[in-house]
């Protein structure tokens, strides 16, 4: 999957987990600056990404998943690691 496709997939997951996410997301800005996302939402979002993409995201990378750009990068790395 290319990075833009991955971003689209992440947005789809995000909207499933946080139904209040707005249609437009600024990739480099934290989700929490753009809409309401509490810690439970955030955790559910990451668990959903893991499940849908069949990867494990190390907890240490969780904070980097706080924006669309960050989450895309982390997921890319996780996918690469699972291929190896």
């Amino acid at each position: 999957m290319s990075a833009p496709e991955l971003s689209e997939a992440i947005l789809a997951t995000l909207r499933r987990v946080v139904p209040a996410a707005p249609p437009q997301i600024v990739p480099d800005s934290p989700f929490r600056d753009q809409f309401e996302m509490d810690s439970l939402d955030f955790l559910n979002f990451i668990l959903a990404l893991e499940k849908e993409h069949g990867v494990k995201i190390p907890e240490g990378r969780y904070p980097r998943c706080a924006s669309l750009a960050g989450a895309t990068k982390v997921l890319e790395e996780a996918l690469a690691a699972s291929v190896r």
Partner: protein, 552 residues
Amino acid sequence: MTDAWVGIRAEIEGPDWTPQNITAFTLTRHVRSGASERVALRWRPRSGPTSTYTYGDLDRAASRFASGLVREGIVEGNTVAILAGRIPELVVAVLGTLRAGAVSTVLFSSFGPDPVLRRLQKGTTHLLVTTPRLYRDKVAPIRDHLPELKQVLVVDGPGRLAALAAQQDPPEGTKDFGAWLAQGDPAFPDADVEAEDPALLHFTSGTTGEPKGVVHVHDAILAHAYTGKRVLGLDAGTRYWCTADPGWVTGISYGIMAPLARGATIFMDEEEFDAERWWENLNAERTEVLYTSPTALRLLRRMHTAGVTGGPFPFLRSVFSVGEPLAHAEAQWGRTVFGVPVRDTWWQTETGCIVVATCWDDDPKDGAVGRAVPGFDVACLHGTAGHEVVAPPGEPGELCVSTPWPSMFRTYLGNPNLYARSFLGTWYLSGDVAQLDAGGWVSFVGRRGDVFKSAGHLISPAEVEDAMLQHPAVSDVGVWGRHDPVAGTVVEAHVVLAQGYAESEELTRDILGFARARLGPALAPRAVRFRTHLPRTPSGKILRKDLGNTQP
């Protein structure tokens, strides 16, 4: 007041103390005694460096705010509401409101427009402090329903307090907080209030959909100051972090009132829970006393197990927990990681201050919250309604607190009958079921009535159901808690679909999204289960406690 409180008053207030205003205690006293340069608040914004505000800074800003209220025509007893996250302006607005003799209420910023409207209406809000985004999302859509609301101030770029000019144009119908504050009088005095005048209004969930407006008076500060000292061990200069959001009573009583009354230094982080940041904060701020919740401890533990960890914490002296009973696993884990025991506390919005606790100088007892804080008398009552008697040691009953005490609530706004029903003789009936052993240790069993806690916060199923019933596909709905490894309990909706609708993932999403947009993340359900009917009593009342156990 009982003899015990006469002694406590003398000890906490000292000789010749007459002022009654909460701000006399939390600000004026420190400034007059030469402590105006002591740090009152350290605030870490979402991004950027931590800023520092002294007692003098807060005192002047609160005065500016109070004088601004007078300029706006707000009079003693009017309500000022604050809808914002953890920002210094919130502290200033709360203190400034009290200084002016008005009533302060803080709403949880994670509430959606429906719960915000109900609370603003119930409190008859005259002035609101919020942020541009929260105003746009949650207040602008409902403002037409709030005829009493004269003025809205928006905080754009928090942390600056008074500023001569707005950073950006405030939304239509609002004024910039900083520019408004800058016009105020930095030496405005404490309003001359009576000890029994209303000061703080908190909303809590009831068994009906209507939130309960819990009213506390200025004298409550005596109980905040006393328990801040006796339970938490706060003193002048203690570096203290209460992680609770100011939208809940803990974030006010112990996030602002108790530490300022004790002359301590508050730390406040604007960001939501973030394990890495939290570990960092503890040592960067040299935190001595931490007051947090089992939900936060569960999250920290989970991250710690996965390698996101910190410590040792050489500055940390005590850790306290509130919100729901502390589980054995979290308590054990906490002791190992923090290097100090995690001590539990119990109290309610209605009690205004901690009533049962393992105090800072007491050893925790496994499975028990603690004992009645000296000055309080508690008992478990059981038996038939109206004829309750004190249960023998070890037997469960409704936990009751002997009245009165300074931070006891003085009414439920607009509902004096419900208030009267909260007492039996001289006992306040808490609605929590507990048992007391022969040594006075209190353990919790459950909660009476149709409310439950999620992430430590009381949820009213009826309030959630009311919003969900507005969805065209929902013909009937029952809401109750479902076990969750992190939150402890999450909100789950059991939905009976209307004619012509069928179960699908899209419909689930649509219903959840609909509820979320109205209720906000604090109240909205996280899961939906479709059912053909709901379990009910013969009289038609939903058996909410059976929802999780019965077949669809």
